[in-house]
Symmetry: C2
């Protein structure tokens, strides 16, 4: 496995690669990321993993500074997982000049976008840059960041990038908590409380699967149950999977998404659910 | 020479091309475009020319509908000029779904951007799409659309596209008028008046080359001279070539840009000028 820090060296290493499979990450890797690497290995090669904490997608007061940087441990895990290239640029490699060109995605004021202004613009921009450096045939992202996957999939399609997007299912701890680099921020009592998010999403999904269509009621009851346990809820939202907009009368393929803060830590989760025909 | 209308066929034709040279156009080709094809041929191959009148870069009330479509004549010229592939997609090929992802360029409120809201966003977006379809090694644009070249060059750099941008000098009629597809809109008396734009820009550039630094004075006198002859001036502006912003005290490499309407036709021109050290 090669560790590469510079764009020119990366391009040279991949000059003849036509089937590269790419997993962009911010590092601090856990089993969820390794699952994405496994998907990449099954589809193409070489397997390229990028590790870059992208300042463009963090807002003022967010956790850019304290986001964990664990390159040596990450490389050890990736080597064991069978990655071929780790691309770990510094900020000057990615942004040698102020980034005045950006990708403007839709749904920027929806869900996480409503609570993190500019976040998805920053995500889409850095991913486009990374795609143009790596030029992969396959790219793998986790479904835990559901809106992110939805948007990047749309970006690939609408910008005509010749990339096959692959989604990895969310990896969970045995108690159901979605694995996330940010789980490391949780104090022990918070960690014990954290799986409630997924439990409540499953309960909401169960009601939808049973045919309930009172979306607003289910959303507000779920949010209230979190608030009662000390969570600060950004949103609980039921959306149509095809559009990530509110379901219409005949939407059957839904997803329940939530973002909520437990102490100083913001947690995300979601669950897809197919609902019965009327 | 192959005429291709579909993206899939284009990708197949270019699957093994590593040195393609690309000239994006809106068709209605003139000698200026052929000069760009010549540049493309000298740098790489196959030479790919796209012909697409991009609705995304036209504002309400602009000339999208009446913009001349002359595909058969264009193909004849391109075959004679040695192009290998003409890519002429229809709107559904380029935009099979509403384009909700766009490229947001800087300087969008400057120069032509101030008078054509959304224009450069539309240009950058369609050019990024075309780049991702053609995947050229070289791309050629004319300097007559100076701000466009400046922006696309910045987009390639900031989005890390592995493309070498090549600029073609403006081709002019013997009386100095910059060749443009829109010149065909001019009535005979307007065509006789039109070269004044370039003459006045040359006069302004001459004053700068002689050491004058009263940029505002030169701009307003040039604009007044046009207005006096019946032009409706969008802008006459002296800018630093490195930034396309107003020159600072030590800017030496300048460009004088203008856009003005003669009757119903909007004409653009510019001239680069190096100014003496103080």
């Amino acid at each position: 496995m090669r560790l590469i820090h510079h764009v020119d060296e990366l391009r040279a290493a991949l000059a003849d690669a036509r089937e590269a499979a790419f997993v962009p990450t911010m590092g601090n890797l856990h089993e969820g990321h390794i699952g994405l690497v496994d998907i990449a290995r099954r589809h193409g090669g070489p397997v390229v993993v990028s590790i870059f904490v992208n300042p463009l997608q963090f807002g003022a007061g967010e956790d850019f500074e304290r986001y964990p940087r664990t390159l040596a441990a990450d490389c050890a895990r990736l080597e064991a997982a069978g990655a071929d290239i780790v691309f770990a640029p510094d900020v000057d490699q990615m942004y040698p000049e102020p980034q005045t060109f950006t990708v403007l995605p839709p749904l920027a004021d929806q869900l996480c976008g409503a609570h993190r202004p500019g976040h998805f613009q920053g995500v889409a921009t850095v991913v486009l840059k990374l795609f143009n450096m790596v030029r992969p045939r396959y790219a793998v992202f986790g479904k835990k960041d559901y809106q992110q996957f939805f948007l990047l999939d749309g970006m690939v399609r609408q910008f005509n990038l010749p990339i096959v997007m692959l989604a990895g299912e969310t990896t969970r701890a045995t108690d159901g908590l979605a694995l996330s680099s940010r789980n490391g921020y949780l104090a022990p009592d918070e960690r014990a409380e954290a799986p409630r998010l997924y439990r409540l999403l499953r309960a909401a999904a169960g009601r939808l699967a049973a045919g309930e269509r009172d979306f607003t009621g289910i959303e507000s009851e779920t949010a209230t149950a979190l608030t009662a346990r000390g969570w600060r809820v950004d949103y609980v939202s039921i959306r149509a999977r095809a559009t990530l907009l509110a379901p219409t009368g005949d939407s059957r393929e839904l997803v329940v998404l939530a973002a909520a803060h437990l102490g100083a830590t913001r947690l995300l989760d979601n669950i897809e659910v197919d609902t019965p025909a009327p």
